[in-house]
Symmetry: C2
Subunit: 324 residues, 2 copies
Amino acid sequence: MYTLSELQKAVADYMNHLDVDGNPHSLYEPIAYSIGAGGKRLRPMLTVLACNIFSDNALLALPAAAALEVFHTFTLLHDDIMDNAPTRRGKPSVYGKWGTNAAILSGDAMMIYSYKLLQQTPVEFLPAVLGCFNYTAMTVCEGQQCDMSFESREDVSMEEYMDMINKKTAALLAGSTIIGAIQGGADPQNRQHLFVFATELGLAFQLQDDLLDAFGTEAQLGKPIGGDILEAKKSFLLLTALQRADGESRKHLLNLLHDNTIAPAEKIAEVLRIYNHLGVREVAETEITSHFNKAMEALDALDAEPERITPLRELALGLLGRNK
Amino acid sequence: MYTLSELQKAVADYMNHLDVDGNPHSLYEPIAYSIGAGGKRLRPMLTVLACNIFSDNALLALPAAAALEVFHTFTLLHDDIMDNAPTRRGKPSVYGKWGTNAAILSGDAMMIYSYKLLQQTPVEFLPAVLGCFNYTAMTVCEGQQCDMSFESREDVSMEEYMDMINKKTAALLAGSTIIGAIQGGADPQNRQHLFVFATELGLAFQLQDDLLDAFGTEAQLGKPIGGDILEAKKSFLLLTALQRADGESRKHLLNLLHDNTIAPAEKIAEVLRIYNHLGVREVAETEITSHFNKAMEALDALDAEPERITPLRELALGLLGRNK
C-alpha cells in the first residue's frame, strides 16, 4: 500500500516521462505542450488511489491512469476551439497558439494516444477497463453537447444543469475511479460505492468551481473572477438566482447579464449584489456540502480496511479545501 | 468460407443496423448521417475478407470491421472542417450542415464509437487488434498532418508525397486487412504478405484517384474533375510534371496554377495540355500498375488455399477497375 504523497510522486513522474513525439513533429508538439502544462492530475490520482485500496500493486494502474489524464487534456483542447478560448490557465491554448486545424488534429491524435496508453493495461483487466473508458468518454461528449446547447437556451432547468455537470465533469471522475478499482480487483459492491463516491465528489467539485467564479479569489480559481457572469453562463448560481427571484428582479438580472453597455467590473459587482440579496451563496454552499457528505458516506460504506481508504479520503478533503 | 457477395451483404447489413443514437440526440444525429451516407465499405470488406482466408467464421470480425469504417468516416468528418468543405459526395458535409463545433464534437464521439465497436472483438484477439487499431489510427493522423503542411510548401518531393499517401490512405487499408487476418488466426508470415498486399493496393488506389481527378469522368471520381488542379494540390501528377518540365515550362505551370484571373475550365484545360505534353498520364499509369502488381504478388505468396484468396482478389481487381 502506498501513501498519498508516494502516489502523487509516481503519477507526476509517469506523466513527465510519457514518450510523446513522432513524425511529423508538428503533430506531436501541441500534445506534449498540453500534457506538460500539468495541473492537479486529479483523474489519474483517483485511478491509482482506488486501485491502492484493494491491491498492493497500485502502480500497475499507471498506464490507464495516464490514459484518463490524456483524455481529459484532449477534451480541454477541443473545448477551447468550441469556446473560442485563446488562453488556458494563463498560457496560450493550443487553439490560440497553433490555430483551429492544428488543435483539431493534434486533439484527435491525443485521444488516440490515450487509447495507446490504455492498451498497456494488464490483459485480464483490458476488456472491463476498455468498456468503462469508452462509456465514460462518450458520456463526457454528451455532457459537452448539453453544455453547448444551453448557451442558446433561456429555459434550462436546474435538473438539466445537474445532469449536464454529471456527464461533463462527474462521469470522468467516476470512470477514473472505477478503472482503478477494477485493476485492484474490487468486487461489484465496492465498485458501486466508489462510483457514488466519485460522482458525488465530481458534483461538489464542479459546484465549488461555479461558486469560486463569483465568490472566490483569482488564485483559488486559476483565472479572473466573474467569467461566468460576463458570459451569462447558466451556472448553478445563476439558475438558483433565477429560481429565487420574483418577476421584477428576475427581469432585472436577465437584462443586466445581456447588457453590453455596462463595464465588466460594474456588471460583476451588481450581479454579486443580487446573488447576495437572494442568498445564492448559502444555497450553493449547502448543496456542495450535501454532495461532499454523500461522497464521504460512500467511502465509509466500502468493505476495506479503513487505513487503505485514508489516502483517497485525504485527496477528496484537499480537493474541496476541507483538510484544514 | 463466404463468397465476396455474401460478405458484401453481411457488411452492408451490419453497417445499416448499427445502433447510433442516445441523449442528446443532437450529438448522435451527425454520426448516423455520416455512417448512413454509405460508400464502398472498402475498409470493413478488407477486414472480413482477410479473416475469411483463414477462418470459416469471418463474421466474428464484423464489429472490428465496422470500427474501421466508423473511424474512416470520422476522419472525413474532421478533414472536411480542416479543408473548409461544405459538401461530400454531392451531399452537405456535417461541417456544412451543422457547423464547426458540431462537426468537432460529433467527430470526437464518432471516434469513441469506433472503439466501442472494437471492444466487441473476441477477448483472445483484443490486445493485438487494439494495438493494431491504435497504431493505424495514429499513422492516419500523421498522414493528415503531412498533407496539411504540404499546402504551404513549394518544395515537396515525390518521396515525401509517397510517404504521405502511405500514411494517410494505405495505412488504414493495411490496418483493416491485418485486423481481419489476426481474427482469422493468420501466422506472422501471412500477416506480413497481407500487409504488403494492402499497402500496395492502397498506394495504387490513391494514385488512381489522383489520375482520375485529371483524366477521369465525374461519374468515376464522384465529384467534378480538376479539383486538385484548381487547388494547386501537390498530387502525383503535379509532382511528376514538375520533375519532367524544363525550367521554362515549370515556371509557366506554377504561374498558371496560382493565377486566379483565369477561368477554372480554361485553367484545367491548359494544365491537362501540359500534363499530356509531358507524358504525365503514362507515368502515373505505369506507377499504378507497378503497385497493383506488387499487391497481387503478395496475395500469391500467401500460404493458403487459392480459392480462399479469390474473394479478396476479386475485390482488389474491382477496386482498380481491372475485373473486366
